[in-house]
Amino acid sequence: MKVALFVPCYIDQFYPQVGIATLQLLEKLGVQAHFPAQQTCCGQPLANSGCERDALPIYKHFVQTFSDYDYVVAPSGSCVYHVRKHFDKLEQTADVQHVRGAAYDLIDFISTVLKVETLPGAFPHKVGLHLSCHGQRGLHQANESEMTPVRDGQLHRLMASLDGIELTQLNRNDECCGFGGTFCVSEAGISARMGQDRVADHVLNGTQVLTGSDMSCLMHLEGIVRRAQLPIRVMHAAEILNGVVT
């Protein structure tokens, strides 16, 4: 199995520890992932801003970079969703189709490809899950409150399998955090308010560690937590899992 690691630009620059944890966690699960250095971005920031045409060269670059791999794994469901859903704008060559199917969110990869649903290790904290909308509603990594009262999902299962962990029951299980890519600056007021409300739900229900599998949501939530100086630690799920699995 030839696995590439895709580390989105903002993780590369601001959260290198998340990229490192992803790589190490995969290694512990027996997967030697490779990081092709010529990678840049999936193009989502441009496309979501209405500049899909300007993003096409980025899409092509992405496909070229990753077409030799069986899987492309990223600690960011949003980028993966973009590759799977919106690379339909490219001519659907064999390479393009392959890369679209090969792109996986880290947690999705662990759950559906490696078929790991439980992990040995302890994390004795109260942990609140942030389900990213693109991971949950887009990649179907978790049940949606719009459809069913049953709260279940890949991240939920992996986390719940850790010893000593307690998962927070939120008042609103899966409300969007308000990051939304460029939305976070073009609609800064609403974006911030959504993030504050999301964090408040965690505070109210006792979250000590806030985690998720999409670093972009977490970057936004972390910014709010730090501004308000709240006693919540924000960690990517890869950091938690890599820390507890030996």
Binding site: M1, K2, C9, Y10, I11, D12, Q13, F14, P16, Q17, G19, L29, G30, Q32, F35, A37, Q39, T40, C41, G43, L46, N48, S49, G50, C51, E52, R53, D54, P57, H61, D70, H86, P120, C133, R137, E144, S145, C176, G178, G180, T182, F183, C184, V185, S186, E187, A188, G189, I190, S191, A192, R193, M194, D197, H220, E222, G223, I224, R226, R227
Partner: protein, 466 residues
Amino acid sequence: MSHAIRADKFLLDADRTTWHDETLWFVREKRDRAVYAVPEFQELRELASGIKNHTLSRLDLYLREFESAAQANGVYVHWAADAAEHNAIILDIIQKEGATRIVKSKSMLTEECHLNPFLIKHGIEVVDTDLGERIIQFRDEPPSHIVLPAIHLKKEDVGDTFHTHLGTDKGESDPQRLTEAARQHLRAKFIAGEVAISGVNFAIAETGAVVVCTNEGNADLGVNLARVHIAAMGIEKIIPRLSDLGVFTRLLARSATGQPVTTYTSHFTKPAPGKAMHIVIVDNGRTQQLGRPDFRASLKCIRCGACMNTCPVYRRSGGHSYDFTVPGPIGAILSPNIDMKKHASLPFASTLCGSCTDVCPVKIDIHTQLYKWRQVLGEANEIPASKKWSMKFMGRVLASTRVYGLGGQFARKALRLLPHGLTHAPSMNAWAVARELPEAPKQSFREWYAKQPQPAVQPTQPQIPA
């Protein structure tokens, strides 16, 4: 003015924003409970979507079938290409009747066509009889929601309005007593009404009937007491068969308010003896939308309002922030079809979280259409120039590994070296108004990776820990 600017005004009153958000979330939760209780709900959505798709694919034929059936029922059928024609037709009917007192039940179409001000200008008294609509009519405001038109108001606001217009006690804000005052006031209007105007929820091609769903009973009361009934409908209200209503009536109220069905589901097929019934069929941009393959599914909308109640942006910015007759996610995909320039910011008033798509009872791919409108607006140069050029620049940078590496390093170093006050200045950085920027690490992931002993790129077998 953009949605963001209007939203910021709404957000200024933080407590009211909380209240608005929670009030609508409460409706969303009622919807969830009603949906969970019907095991076949997801199948019903699929069926509703299928029926609507089919209908749109034969729209001209069903419109003809509907027209013939309605005419055979003794109903006058009129066609209006746009809002002006719709208004003129209705005024003409009213004037030929020699009527001046009109009672109207809820119709988003007449709102869309701005019928009320038009009639009033021609000396006609038009009274909105839905309670929420009456409240905002007194206040001279547009509706802020398609199902709950006065949802932006608190009971104290309604109390003030009724004190002014209906003479209720000053400070009276009990919903029960305010509703009773409106009941008494509107009963007199119903009894005096000469012509009743109603909207249409469904128009059945097979029978020529129009179906109107209300909780208050205002459409039934108005129509059945007046001499003339005028029903105004968009061309997309057609469904093929009576039996299709089994699907739609099971979805509509559950999605809208969490009720199992609206109190009244009224089928108006023929005028009562000695009375008259007119149906005005309106295009007003709908055939144009039908011709846009990416956006035609928006015509499946049954106006349940669920996408508004679930939208985290709508709940925190209020319906008026959309400045369009239909607010919320569905409004954001309908409005650019009407006026791309004016409504250019609406498709961007979303995080694309997709919740709207997942509650929509007719499975409109709302968030995908928002994304696609952004592309159309981008191509038409209807996005701010600064955004456009920075995106073009980013596009070039991100397509090249070398330039990309330099740009990222520069930003991170700047963040690390510049003083907090500069990087977090609200005037320069919208992010930093409410959020800290990430702490810039000393080295990027790729810098770290380059220093690691490089693994050979070859197939590995995953080892799963027990």
